[in-house]
Amino acid sequence: MQSKSARALYLIPYGAWILLFVVAPIALVGYYSLFDLHGSFTFGNYRNFFSSIYLRLTLSSFWYAFLITLFSLLIAYPTAYYLTKTKHKQLWLLLIIIPSWINLLLKTYAFIGIFGQYGPINALFAAIGIGNKQILFTDFSFIFVSVYIFIPFMILPIFNAIDRLNPALIDASRDLGANSWTTFRRVILPLTMNGVKSGIQVTFIPALSLFMITRLIAGNKVITLGTAIEQQFLVTQNWGMGSTIAVFLILFMFIIMLFTEQREKGGTGNGRNR
């Protein structure tokens, strides 16, 4: 009896958290999405979402999130692989992780300085005769900075997956006639897929709703679902439409979660025998 009531006691913080910060906000967002600008009940917001403007917005949001995730993955996988082979791998990993502890806004502002008209990159361009270039407020700078921000989150799960891989499996693959590339494709990649999926999850989903980097680095040239929500709430004051976009954003997140779900098979053990 004692333990049962004690367990109920432990449940309180979790229950309160879920109720206050998960259930209530989602319910509120759902509720507001059903009202128009004048406060009358409507499904118009949902109809609007399927108009070409918002569909294009959604599509572009996905496209940028896809690009950010892709480039992060292309850089993170080889990096993580290389790190697991180094002598002081935990130290090197830490050096990559540390910048992610610094406030996002600070780092973003730093890039405004770096990419700006009077920044070091343009100074270099001027010096070698290319001349001043507009770097800030371009697709390139937006993706570059986003990738920079997300890379540590992509590296960490992939590093862990590769590090857990039983090295005897690589020997076994080589022993059975596979060259390095085939070994990677048939053994290493499938067995570290869960790490890759985690990495995609923690990159793609937040990238869908980026709004600060879009504002500061892309200068509103890139509009994502995140910036759209912000504008609906703060600029247009159309809470109903903002909430509707948020509802879809949550929906997309769930769909992505389903797609990147970890399968048990071969995942946890990663080849080591119990």
Binding site: A172, R174, G177
Partner: protein
């Protein structure tokens, strides 16, 4: 030499950095179609030899020849060798069938052919019908068989086995010893088996290489090594033994435990200091009057097949006796043994000298 050895090591050394020498100038030959065992305590370099043959590591010095050709620089995927790993190293993301088929798929063997060969290999290791199972659903013994099937399906010249039985329980281990030996004879391939378990080595091998500290101490058939260990290390490592100091008075006469005994060893210097080995099962319990040695029983253990007696003679030498007869703790008993049971070991004799000496008196000396 008419037959080309399948594997030859020519002065092979392996060092890591400057300090750690794992293998020290090793040379040996292995014939086609035999069951070899590398036997030694952990850290003796036996697994290193296996990994050198598989190609996972390269020798620091010397040559490794496969079928007469130097393979020092040949990567593992191009060697006609397959390994059964210590922890099996089965691919957890593939089922049993695909694990076994892995090597064939790499070689782009056609689908129906893959199916036929995988099923044949699974039948070989008594796992018919298990192809669709996941690795996680297989028991330790079954995984072991999958690992073997995965190696033999590629039809390699040499199969390397790295302590493959160490994770199994005793009964299964004994069973697998029989199976492995039988499998090797059916396939007619060269098996190179690494173990620290002397019983495994004795039961399965055509030839055993006893190793210690990066060197091969003695090589020979299980009977040779058991009956004629070259040194205290080998005698101690392989089976149980009584080892006492003694003096070789002359050929066929040895002094130990304060008495002179007739023996069959020869070719040593007169009055040379030696060590004498007598196996516990060669000692027979008799009355103190009839016994060649008189000892007092200190402890007695029932081992199932036999009693194991720990006894001491009056000089304080311990004599281990394996006997089906029972004795009383504290009693004085006699121990009887044949001259052939005495094996004399020279101190620090090299394997070549040892073999030469053995040959010299075995041909002329006594008839076996």
């Amino acid at each position: 030499m008419t037959k080309q050895p399948i594997i030859r090591f020519d002065g092979v050394s392996k060092r890591y950095g400057d300090d750690a020498t794992i293998l020290d100038d090793i040379s040996f030959e292995m014939e086609r179609g035999k069951f070899y065992t590398l036997l030694g305590p952990s850290g003796c370099g036996k697994t290193t030899i296996l990994r050198l043959i598989a190609g996972f590591i390269e020798p620091t010095a010397g040559q490794i020849l496969f079928d007469g050709k130097n393979i020092n620089d040949v990567p593992p995927n191009e060697r006609q060798v397959n390994t059964v790993f210590q922890d099996y190293a089965l691919f957890p993301h593939l089922n049993v069938f695909e694990n076994v088929a892995f090597g064939l798929r790499i070689k782009k063997v056609k689908g129906p052919e893959v199916k036929r060969r995988v099923e044949e290999a699974l039948r070989f290791v008594n796992l018919e019908g298990y192809g669709g199972r996941e690795i996680s659903e297989m028991s330790g013994g079954q995984r072991q068989r999958v690992a073997i099937a995965r190696a033999i399906v590629n039809d390699p010249e040499v199969i390397l086995l790295d302590e493959p039985l160490s994770a199994l329980d005793l009964k299964l281990r004994t069973e697998m010893q029989y199976e492995l030996r039988e499998l090797q004879q059916r396939l007619g391939k060269t098996f190179i088996f690494v173990t620290h378990d002397q019983e495994e080595a004795l039961a399965m091998s055509d030839e055993i290489f006893v190793m210690n500290a990066g060197q091969i101490i003695q090589s020979g058939t299980p009977i040779d090594i058991y009956d004629e260990p070259i040194s205290r290390f080998v005698a101690d490592f392989i089976g149980e033994s009584n080892i006492v100091d003694g003096v070789m008075i002359r050929d066929q006469l040895v002094l130990f435990a304060g008495k002179e005994f007739e023996c069959v060893d020869a070719g040593l210097d007169p009055n040379e200091k030696i060590e004498v080995v007598i196996r516990p099962e060669d000692l027979e319990i008799t009355s103190p009057e009839k016994g060649k040695l008189v000892v007092t029983v200190d402890t007695q253990l029932f081992r199932g097949v036999h009693y194991e007696l720990s006894t001491y003679d009056k000089d304080g030498n311990e004599w281990l006796v394996h006997s089906t007869k029972k004795a009383q703790v504290g009693d004085e008993i006699g121990l009887d043994f044949d001259p052939e049971a005495i094996h004399v070991m020279r101190l620090n004799e090299s394997e070549e000298d040892f073999d030469r000496r053995l040959e010299s008196y075995e041909v002329t000396g006594h008839a076996e």
